[in-house]
């Protein structure tokens, strides 16, 4: 596949046609209020459909089932978003973080064990954050003690999205308590069915529980579960975190620009009881125009990030800029949505878990959007990265 303009347009037509036949009609309504089992089954089926078409892991190397050019990926995500396809929520960590880790630092054996399994539906969770290690991830305390050729793990992980459904966990644990905090961490692949692993859901402000706590009590991980060298886990983790801050933004930006903005326009065009229609209000129009402009900017930023990523010319802060821009624009979009939706916003209190942060359930999306400036590196951390690595500013002095 070459990715010339004509080829790309043909590819676009192919994806569009595929979507027309495969995106499940009415999935949003059908998936709203669905049980956990119904959600998991739906996600697995959709992942399998995409896999069969070769659309599930386009960013992977060709030998493992991917191999699309950056330009093709842009087209793919644009079309999936435009056709309002369900998001791959359940497979997200597996296809992005787990795969990036295995490809960058895994052994051939680990890759062979897991990459095909992921394509076949193996679900992964990220076990990084802890109660005392959020923004300061390197302060994590979960310990892995060597015992012969195995490791014995004890500790607690927090904010592990979707842990209840996961088969495997990307785990950071401390193997050398004496070393400086970034130097004593190792990276593991942990089977979630190992004895001693316990998952408890955490309810958020709206009673959803996609966040979990994971308690680890004398969990045995065989030596083959170690990724990279002992005590070199921090460097490995940087690779997977940058996967989160990189290509995944493209899909999110397209979704916001398509589904998200479409819901917003529909909400604005709906006449409310009493006759008021937000669209007739010049102040609303003005804000819509501003958001549309900003979305065009975001999508442009994402596409250029993909291109530079591929050409190997991406700057050290580029991904952080995109993430910061996206999360703040998402919040501004949801601000307007929840405002113009009026009382409706308070009545629509369920959304399909397979959607992103642009489901049209404004209050849920609004609260969800607040979460965006926190995980995967808070906005404060992104700003520090942009300042220090992007602009070359000195580190913030330690407080006196």
């Amino acid at each position: 596949m070459t990715g010339g303009t004509a080829d790309l347009e043909a590819f676009r037509a192919e994806v569009r046609d595929w979507c027309r036949h495969h995106v499940p009609a009415g999935w949003r309504a059908a998936q709203t209020g669905v049980s956990d089992e119904g959600y998991v089954a739906f996600q697995q089926a959709w992942f399998a459909e995409l896999g069969a078409a070769g659309y599930a892991v386009p960013h992977w190397p060709a030998e493992w089932g991917g191999g699309m050019s950056g330009a093709q990926q842009v087209v793919l995500y644009q079309e999936l978003a435009a056709q309002d396809a369900p998001r791959l929520v359940l497979a997200f960590v597996a296809i992005h973080h787990a795969a990036a880790t295995l490809l960058a630092a895994g052994t051939e054996e680990q890759r062979r064990r897991h990459l095909p399994a992921i394509l076949a539906g193996e679900v992964w969770v990220q076990g990084f954050s802890e109660p005392e290690a959020g923004s300061d991830l390197a302060a994590l305390r979960t310990s892995a003690r060597r015992d012969g050729d195995r490791f014995v793990v004890n500790g607690q992980k927090l904010w592990a999205s979707g842990a209840a459904f996961a088969d495997w966990c990307l785990l950071l644990a401390r193997t050398d308590p004496e070393a400086p905090k970034r130097k004593g961490i190792s990276y593991f692949l942990m089977d979630m069915r190992s004895p001693g692993v316990e998952v408890r859901p955490v309810r958020n402000s709206l009673g959803e529980s996609h966040f979990c706590e994971i308690f680890l009590n004398d969990v045995m991980i065989p030596g083959s579960g170690l990724v990279g060298e002992v005590n070199a886990g921090w460097q490995v983790a940087q690779a997977t975190l940058s996967a989160e801050r990189g290509m995944t933004m493209l899909e999110l930006a397209e979704r916001l620009g398509n589904a998200g903005f479409k819901w917003l326009l529909e909400t604005c065009a709906r006449r409310q009881p009493g006759g008021y229609r937000p669209m007739d209000d010049p102040t609303v129009l003005d804000r819509l125009a501003r958001l549309e402009t900003e979305m065009a900017g975001l999508r442009g930023l994402c596409r250029s990030l993909v291109e530079r990523h591929e050409a190997g010319t991406a700057g050290p802060a580029d991904a952080s800029i995109v993430k910061l821009y996206y999360s703040e624009l998402l919040q501004r979009t949801m601000d307007l949505g929840v405002e113009v939706a009026g009382l409706d916003a308070h009545r629509v209190m369920e959304k399909p878990p397979s959607s992103g942060w642009e489901s049209g359930a404004w209050v849920l999306d609004f609260i969800g959007s607040w979460e965006w400036t926190i995980p995967g590196g808070t906005s404060e951390i992104q700003r520090s990265i942009i300042g220090e690595r992007g602009l070359g500013l000195p580190r913030e002095p330690a407080a006196s």
């Binding site: 923004s135 927090l158 102040t283 601000d335 009382l343 308070h346 009545r347 209190m349 330690a398």
Partner: protein
Amino acid sequence: MILELCEEAQDFGRSALGAIEAAGGDRLVQAAEADPAQRQAAIEPVLAGLGAWQLEPRRNLEEMEAAAALCRSAGHWALPYPVAARLCRPAAGDFDGLLVVSDVEPAAPVAGLGLRWAAAGLDGQGYAATARPAPAAPRRSAFVTRLDLQPAARVDTADLALALTLPCWTLLGMLDRAMALTCAYVLERQQFGQPLASFQGVQFQLTDAEVERVGVEELAKYALWSIESGRPDAVDDALALRAAAVEAAEIVFRVAHQLHGAIGFCDETTISWMSRYSAPLRRLPLGLTATRTELTRRLGRQGLAGLFSSPSSTSQ
């Protein structure tokens, strides 16, 4: 110039804070969410014990200030009860409280109380209002429900202004609490070997939020005084307060959530509850844009009362 609530009102506010705490404090809203039917029985005796139903806010400034102080204390605990609306009950008619409603889709957080409500549109049109059954569990609805309206006599300016102003005092109490919780959290939470409070990026977010909070406090006192002194533009002053209070709430809660991090979205933290139950006060009867549009319409070309509000004095 007297710029603070009178001593009696301040004392009353402090006793209310203590009495609500003694009755359960933060647990009251949690219990009400779990079992909405019992909230009336849990809360009304506390308010009665404080003498809330003897308060006549329009009798004199002292009582109006006491009512405001009570609303603020109720906000501090996110008390799941329409205290402000009840304290505004009109002198005439057989009503338990007064609600301001928008003409688009009248609603208020009064589900399941079985009280008799008077309502007022922003144009001063009066109504008798009946609350429909709650559309969803309180976790989803925050007790907001639709109202059915029957036209009644017009509501006078002072009543309307008071019914707009007192809920802002409740919201102010929530902002007080959100700031206190957030300051305490950033002082305690350690990352990178030091409290979050030691980072200037964190400090600056906090100061910007605090400027918003104290600004609301001053505008809230002014709006109250405007009603008591019988000023004809008391409704403008109340809407000016509301516009500022809703804008401030967005900023304060956003900063509070941001600085609490992920834990702030979980019900283990008080901020999660405050944030959820502040929503009806911020959205009803009018959200930020609608409030500002209404204020702009009313101000016309006259502007807002102030140092230069008579047209002849603006140019030299």
